[in-house]
């Protein structure tokens, strides 16, 4: 077991966990942040995407020890009690979420994309979300949600 300390959604957490435990399991089981989903367990589907120090990572591939000192953002950190984050609102309105299981990862991938390219081209959107699989939508409405989010004032769509 190892003591690991990191910040999640603005809150500092210190845990005693097996060092090679998947960060995905630490988030879901130790911290009960179940918005981060497991789809494949091998870094293909992107359902477990989170932001770690601003980078988009598959939390199923990150050992807990690797998160030492990191700043982590999960889907639970996007909205506040009363209001959705603009990206979430756009996914909701544009039909970007169907079954919802890829949605948390997709939202964080979108946030990451818009931080990098505030006005992304269609090609940048397609490439930027290519690590996140969705079996329901055919991606068209997800792309539309991303374009809508980008069209809002940049201050609204970037990291809160």
């Amino acid at each position: 077991m190892s003591i690991v300390s990191f910040s999640v959604n603005g809150e500092q957490r210190t845990l005693d966990v097996p060092p090679m435990r998947r960060l995905l399991d630490v988030l879901r089981e130790e911290l009960r942040l179940t918005g981060t989903k497991e789809g494949c367990g091998e870094g293909e589907c992107g359902s477990c995407s989170i932001l770690m120090n601003g980078e988009l990572v598959n939390s199923c591939l990150v050992p807990a020890l690797h998160a030492e000192g990191a700043t982590i953002r999960t889907v639970e950190g996007m909205a506040d009690e009363a209001r959705l984050h603009p990206i979430q609102q756009c996914f909701l309105e544009k039909g970007g979420a169907q079954c919802g299981i890829c949605t948390p990862g997709m939202l964080l991938a979108t946030e990451h994309l818009l931080a990098k390219y505030p006005n992304p081209t269609d090609e940048q959107i397609r490439e930027g979300l290519a690590g996140n699989l969705c079996r329901c939508t055919g991606y068209m409405r997800i792309f539309e949600a991303v374009r809508e989010a980008a069209s809002l004032h940049p201050s609204k769509a970037q990291l809160a």
């Binding site: 879901r28 179940t34 918005g35 981060t36 989903k37 497991e38 789809g39 494949c40 367990g41 091998e42 293909e44 589907c45 359902s47 999960t74 889907v75 639970e76 996007m78 909205a79 209001r83 959705l84 603009p86 979430q88 609102q89 756009c90 996914f91 909701l92 309105e93 544009k94 039909g95 979420a97 169907q98 079954c99 919802g100 299981i101 890829c102 949605t103 948390p104 939202l107 959107i125 397609r126 490439e127 979300l129 290519a130 690590g131 996140n132 699989l133 969705c134 079996r135 329901c136 939508t137 055919g138 991606y139 068209m140 409405r141 997800i142 792309f143 809002l152 004032h153 609204k156």
Partner: protein
């Protein structure tokens, strides 16, 4: 600032059906707070695992437990722990819950384990040593139909159908051309992103409760009653938020749900079983592989005179839903054309592959792939375009389908085709690509497929289901829908609430829908077969009318009412009578008849109609075919929700593109070798073209506010449209899907001219004109 973008949240007028209201459970989904089964933890919960067969067929000789494991810590369940029948009931009772003697496929469940520590399960499962006496196994339709090895019943056959119209034997003598072809399709994984999972609880007094990811709570309910020998009221099934299904959670949850329940009973504690991706892909159902043979008589002016179609599907090791899949595939085998004479023989064969099951389209994508490829070949034999051949043979209002069903809707297939050809710039592209293909290693083409898809259960299915829908008013005067129809992304919650709100003339927000729980909601049938919007929606509409009548008869509501008046009337009725409910039970429309024995009559209450156009590019250096543009026009009755409806079409088209060009199940000795997302490739956002969706709306009398089914339709058209486009690009006929670069490579290497094919039977492969011997030309291209 968020207020600015929530402008779409509330529909302004009293028109709710047809508007893009927000998805009912959408906020929870985008917040990440929606509770899927793996997000639930119950006190004292154990985790379950399944010990599975490692061979395709054989007898279990012995089961030994490696002494290196502390077995006393584990709950162990075998078939001897099943209180009732050792079966997972679907249509028959052949499917074992846990194998006890004979195993019939790789990954067949034999034994179940549970432990409080999930991490202690994989090593324990591996430490259960099972010895087998191997038996010969069967892996293909051909091996199964040869009957050299008997693996199921007397003849390895789950089901056969014979569908006949006119006198198909009479057409061959007078035909100008006879065109034959053989077409095959592979297995396809549903690949919902949430794997199968369930949590079960046991109580000696209350019986068994299962929570899980599923489409059909009452299917699992029925399976539990049989396996546990319990009455209906001692079995309870609750659907949790479901992360995609596509048919893959129609029949399979009966297996995993019963397993979790057996462990819960033995341990006396809640037990959760969640498959990981590898186990889910290796052991759960897939789309049935198929083989279709066509022999078609055509006149020189391109009229279809008659045909013989032989349709065969690989059902896998147990019957599961194969007869029903076969039925839909059989009825759709003749497609959207007028056949004066037609005979379709079909069969579902047993193999020692894990059972195949429901997947969006349910047999129709298989037989329609064959037909729509075959239509393009017939056109070339006749010497007209595929478009023209289709136009000369479309079903029109007043015609009868292959089952003798009158086409009653005022459908105009020619006008729809005009619209999609224009939207896709089809003819101009065809001409342009002939030019550009001369100068480029990237060869482009456009292809077309026309088809229809029946909505609702086939034949007498809806009558047998006898679905029931209920509504009740809550204490605030809101209406709660009680249906067993499940939401798994397709929009059930939203559209049923829209229908109720419209019927009751109250705001969408004032209608709620209950979580499907067999202790609370009646059996409104399974969430399958493109039946929810049409059949269940109509029942919701009728139940609302009944509820309004109750309020009016009791003098609490006028003919015209405001939302507030309705709300007050509901509350007043509850105060006077204790409750306010409404219900509606399915009644077969008087004008729909189906004869199961003769396989004739009205196969479906309604059909949706469609033309799909694919534009492809084949890179002749990498042999990769890519779909670069897609246009889908469909007539689906009234579109209840434009965003959700388009989302259904786009998602289905994406799965269809995957079916055609990406997704292959590689089996070796009955093992799925690529049971990972790493090597089973589904399309990413970067792989898909823009998908353009066009609707025609002809309200149907059979559906809620005129809606027809929509969910399965988009799975039917992409594969044939894409392979037709590939022919247009490189002049090679491919008759098998999936079609991956290695397949294109192998075939192009065989071509002496490096691409173009003519119609000489010896070169053209699986089709020929009447001058050729009849049993040649059935070879499938490698």
């Amino acid at each position: 600032m968020l207020g600015e973008i929530s402008r779409m949240a509330a529909p302004a007028s009293n028109q709710i059906v047809g508007t893009p209201v927000l998805r009912k459970e959408g906020v929870a989904k985008v917040r990440g707070s929606a509770q899927y089964v793996d997000d639930l933890e119950l006190p004292e919960m154990l985790h379950g695992a399944t010990v599975r067969s490692t061979i395709a067929r054989g007898r279990i000789r012995s089961i030994t437990f490696d002494p290196s494991i502390a077995w006393g810590e584990y709950i162990i369940v075998t078939s001897r722990d099943i209180p009732g029948k050792n079966t997972i009931v679907h249509l028959f009772e052949d499917h074992l819950c846990l194998a006890d003697d004979l195993v019939s496929h790789v990954a067949e469940p034999i034994l179940l384990l549970a432990h409080a520590d999930k991490a202690k399960l994989p090593a324990a499962a591996a430490a259960v040593k099972i010895e087998y006496e191997p038996l010969p196994a069967v892996f293909t339709i051909e091996e199964s139909e040869s009957r050299q090895t008997a693996i199921w019943g007397e003849d390895n056959t789950f089901k056969t159908y014979l569908m006949e119209k006119g006198d198909p034997d009479s057409v061959w003598a007078t035909a100008d051309y006879i065109v034959e072809g053989e077409y095959t399709t592979g297995a396809q994984e549903q690949l919902y992103i949430e794997n199968n999972g369930c949590i079960a609880e046991w109580s000696d007094t209350e019986g068994v409760t299962v929570y899980g990811s599923m489409q059909c709570p009452y299917y699992l309910h029925h399976a539990l009653m049989l396996a546990f020998d319990l009455p209906a009221d001692k079995c309870r099934v609750v659907q949790t938020e479901t992360g995609g299904a596509f048919g893959g959670k129609e029949d399979f949850p009966s297996v995993i749900g019963t397993h979790a329940a057996l462990l819960a009973k033995k341990s006396g504690r809640p037990v959760k079983i969640i498959y990981d991706r590898g186990e889910d892909m290796a052991s759960t159902t897939k789309r049935h592989p198929s083989r279709t043979r066509h022999r078609t008589a055509v006149s020189k002016d391109g009229k279809l005179l008659g045909a013989e179609i032989e349709f065969a599907i690989d059902g896998g090791a147990y019957c599961t839903l194969s007869p029903v899949v076969l039925s839909r595939g059989t009825i759709h085998a003749g497609g959207c054309y007028f056949w004066p004479n037609l005979r379709v023989r079909s069969k579902a064969m047993a193999t020692n592959i894990p059972p195949h099951g429901a997947f969006r389209g349910f047999g129709a994508p298989q037989s329609l792939f064959a037909l729509e490829r075959h239509m393009d070949k017939i056109a070339r034999v006749v010497g007209i375009s595929g478009e023209e051949l289709r136009r000369r043979n479309f079903l029109h209002p007043g015609n009868h389908t292959a089952t003798g069903q009158l086409v009653a809707d005022p459908i105009d297939m020619n006008a729809m085709l005009d619209r999609v050809l224009s939207a896709s710039d089809f003819h101009a592209k065809q001409a342009r690509f002939v030019e550009t293909n001369r100068r480029s290693p990237i060869q482009r083409g456009v292809g077309l497929a026309s088809f229809m898809h029946g909505a609702g259960f086939t034949g007498s299915g809806e009558r047998r289901l006898n679905s029931l829908v209920k509504l009740e008013a809550d204490a605030q005067g809101r209406i709660v829908l009680l249906v067993s129809s499940a939401e798994f992304g397709q929009g059930t919650n939203t559209i049923l609430c829209q229908v109720a709100a419209q019927a009751l003339q109250i705001p969408y927000e004032q209608v709620l829908i209950a979580q499907p729980d067999t202790h609370r909601v009646p059996n409104s049938g399974p969430t399958v077969a493109s039946r929810t919007a049409m059949i269940v929606g109509k029942l919701v509409q009728t139940a609302c009318e009944n509820l309004l009548a109750t309020l009016r008869e009791s003098g609490l509501l006028e003919e015209q009412h405001s939302a507030a008046q309705f709300c007050h009337a509901c509350i007043a009725h509850r105060e006077q009578h204790g409750s306010l409910t409404g219900e509606a039970r399915y009644q077969s429309p008087g004008d729909i008849f189906w004869d199961d024995d003769k396989y004739k009559g009205d196969a479906y209450p309604a059909f949706a109609w469609a033309h799909y156009v694919a534009e492809v590019a084949v890179d002749t250096r990498t042999y990769q075919a890519t779909c670069e543009g897609f246009w889908a026009i469909q007539e689906v009755g009234k579109v209840l929700h434009p965003t959700l409806a388009a989302g259904q079409i786009e998602g289905g088209v994406a799965q269809g593109i995957g079916y055609a060009l990406y997704e292959r199940c590689e089996y070796k000795d009955g093992h799925l070798r690529n049971n990972q997302m790493t090597n089973y490739i589904m399309p990413t956002g970067a792989d898909l073209p823009p998908i353009h969706v066009l609707f025609e709306e002809i309200p149907s009398i059979h559906g809620a506010f005129g809606a027809k089914g929509i969910g399965e339709l988009p799975m039917d058209g992409p594969a044939p449209a894409i392979l037709n486009a590939i022919y247009s690009a490189i002049g090679i006929d491919f008759d098998a899907i999936p079609l991956l670069p290695e397949d294109i490579f192998a075939r192009m290497m065989r071509q002496s001219s490096g691409g173009s094919e003519d119609l000489k039977p010896e070169e053209a492969g699986p089709y020929y004109s009447r001058s050729a011997p009849q049993d040649e030309g059935l070879e499938v291209p490698a």
